[in-house]
């Protein structure tokens, strides 16, 4: 009961979706359309679940005084802050339960939710990801070594693409005559991208696609059940 019905649901839903691809006639399209609408709503609940689980996990860590537990208080506080100002006064285009909070908006320029998003969140996220520029530079010097024919090919292609993808590439080889224009760095980089890279990435894409097709099929047919969890 706890396992059989979910397996049956997965099977029926998967099969209906696949069938309706080939049979445009009623009622398959309608059923699929309805299922897809439900999916959106359930996905919404799943996101809520995700955020609440995060809350729960952090609460657990604080309660059991896990390593660095003090920092997780900050996580919880920022979460509560963002949610409450979002619900009280809403977001840029959405009123909250206390309306639009005009007094506050007039004082700080925007709604508090957007103020936090624009000034704190945006900068935090953008900076987190910009750290990677530094790590790439350091790894470039310390770890990217051409030890084999394979890695040499990789690095040469990388350098050509990097040169071609800058203004520098045009400046360096801009003097080449028309008859040698294929040696122009931006052209070389475009060539690498358009042919060998497309070929390589296409091979990966196809391999991965068969993998996804295989696992989808196993899930629909109930052969693969790990998504239901243990017990």
């Amino acid at each position: 009961m706890k396992r059989k019905i979910p397996l049956l649901i997965t099977f029926l839903v998967g099969v209906i979706i696949i069938i309706s691809e080939f049979i445009p006639h009623k009622p398959f399209g309608q059923i699929t359309g309805e299922l897809e609408n439900w999916y959106l709503i359930i996905a919404g609940f799943a996101i809520i679940l995700g955020q609440l689980s995060l809350f729960k996990v952090n609460l657990f860590k604080i309660k059991h005084r896990q390593k660095n537990w003090q920092f997780f208080i900050i996580t919880l506080l920022s979460f509560i802050l963002m949610v409450s100002i979002g619900i009280f006064w809403g977001t840029e285009n959405h009123p909250g339960i206390f309306g639009n909070g005009e007094t506050i908006s007039n004082t700080i320029g925007t709604k508090p939710f957007d103020y936090l998003f624009d000034n704190v969140y945006q900068n935090l996220q953008a900076t987190m990801f910009s750290l990677l520029a530094f790590f790439i530079a350091s790894a470039a010097y310390r770890a990217f070594i051409a030890r084999t024919l394979e890695s040499s090919l990789l690095l040469v292609a990388a350098i050509l693409v990097m040169l071609g993808n800058t203004s520098l590439g045009s400046a360096l080889t801009g003097w080449l005559p028309e008859s040698l224009s294929f040696l122009h760095l931006p052209r070389i980089s475009e060539f690498i991208m358009k042919y060998p890279t497309t070929a390589g990435q296409r091979a990966i894409m196809i391999g991965a696609a068969f993998g996804i097709i295989g696992s989808s099929l196993r899930i629909i047919l109930g052969i693969e059940r790990s998504y239901l969890g243990g017990e």
């Binding site: 799943a46 945006q122 530094f134 010097y141």
Partner: protein
């Protein structure tokens, strides 16, 4: 194997500092190196040029502030290009923060287009979860997925959405995509299932994986890839912005990284040789 390397390891923080300077200095002292356009960007430009006036298009903002430096200039140049060509823009977002990204661009450019009205020439439909399944649902019934725009106005009161029941009457779909869900899902559904033209702009990280879709089948019509793609597009639409002004720094930083790779390799092989000699 690489015992040799660690003995002469320099502190990586010096490398960090060098890169920081390599990016900061060209931003302050602008060189203005030339930019050349590539075919994929010209294809994107051509698609918008060839779309008839009055057409309605979807621009999907599927990114968040983490990719803003790359995708935001594309979004801005594209939206201006559409407004210049009298193309009506319907904004959707598969990432929640995409809503804000689109609004940020619209609020910056709307003063230059006083005759463009919200709800007639532009609308922001807000965020929907569910990725590929939701896109497929839009293709069946757009109005079920988007009963309201982001302000809560009913879809029936928005003139721009007259006749938009699914993807049928759209000029094209343009995805500004930083990952999953994003451009791949739009290609798979909007083009490969419903036959609408799809184009897009992606971050440099995802560009190679998306490039096989730019092919004879026209699964994608052109592609803007990373800051360079954005700068080329700014050049074509003659609206230089942050992408163009960032290209100098980009060039110098690339050069620095290339020098690092070459120096690192020379270093490695020299140490290796020295070690071999000692070993003999």
């Amino acid at each position: 194997m690489s015992e040799n390397v660690k003995k002469k390891q320099i502190d990586r923080r010096w490398i960090f500092l060098l890169l920081f300077l390599a990016v900061a200095i060209p931003l302050i002292f602008v060189i203005g190196l030339p930019i050349e356009t590539t075919e994929n960007v010209r294809m994107v430009h051509g698609l918008i040029e060839q779309t008839p006036k009055g057409s309605k298009v979807i621009i999907s903002f599927d990114y968040d502030p983490a990719s803003k430096p790359e995708l935001h200039p594309m979004g801005k140049a594209l939206m201006e290009h559409c407004f210049d060509r009298d193309i009506k823009v319907i904004v959707t977002a598969l990432w929640p923060m995409g809503v804000q990204m689109a609004e940020d661009i619209y609020s910056k450019i709307k003063d230059n287009y006083p005759d463009k009205k919200y709800g007639v020439d532009y609308v922001n439909m807000g965020y929907k979860a569910g990725g590929i399944v939701t896109i497929q649902a839009m293709g069946k019934n757009f109005r079920d997925i988007f009963p309201q725009d982001m302000n809560g106005t009913s879809i029936d009161e928005l003139p721009i959405l007259d006749g938009i029941n699914n993807f049928d009457n759209l000029g094209f779909v343009f995805a500004l995509s930083a990952g999953d869900p994003g451009i791949k899902q739009w290609v798979q559904v909007a083009h490969d299932t419903y036959g609408r033209p799809v184009s897009g702009g992606v971050t440099g990280v995802s560009a190679p994986a998306v490039i096989p879709y730019v092919n004879q089948q026209q699964q994608l019509i052109g592609l803007l890839a990373g800051l360079k793609g954005a700068a080329e597009y700014e050049l074509l639409t003659e609206t230089p912005g942050t992408a163009t002004s960032g290209m100098d720094a980009q060039s110098v930083a690339h050069l620095i990284i290339i020098i690092f790779i070459v120096a690192g390799n020379i270093n490695y092989w020299r140490n290796k040789k020295a070690e071999k000699k000692r070993g003999e």
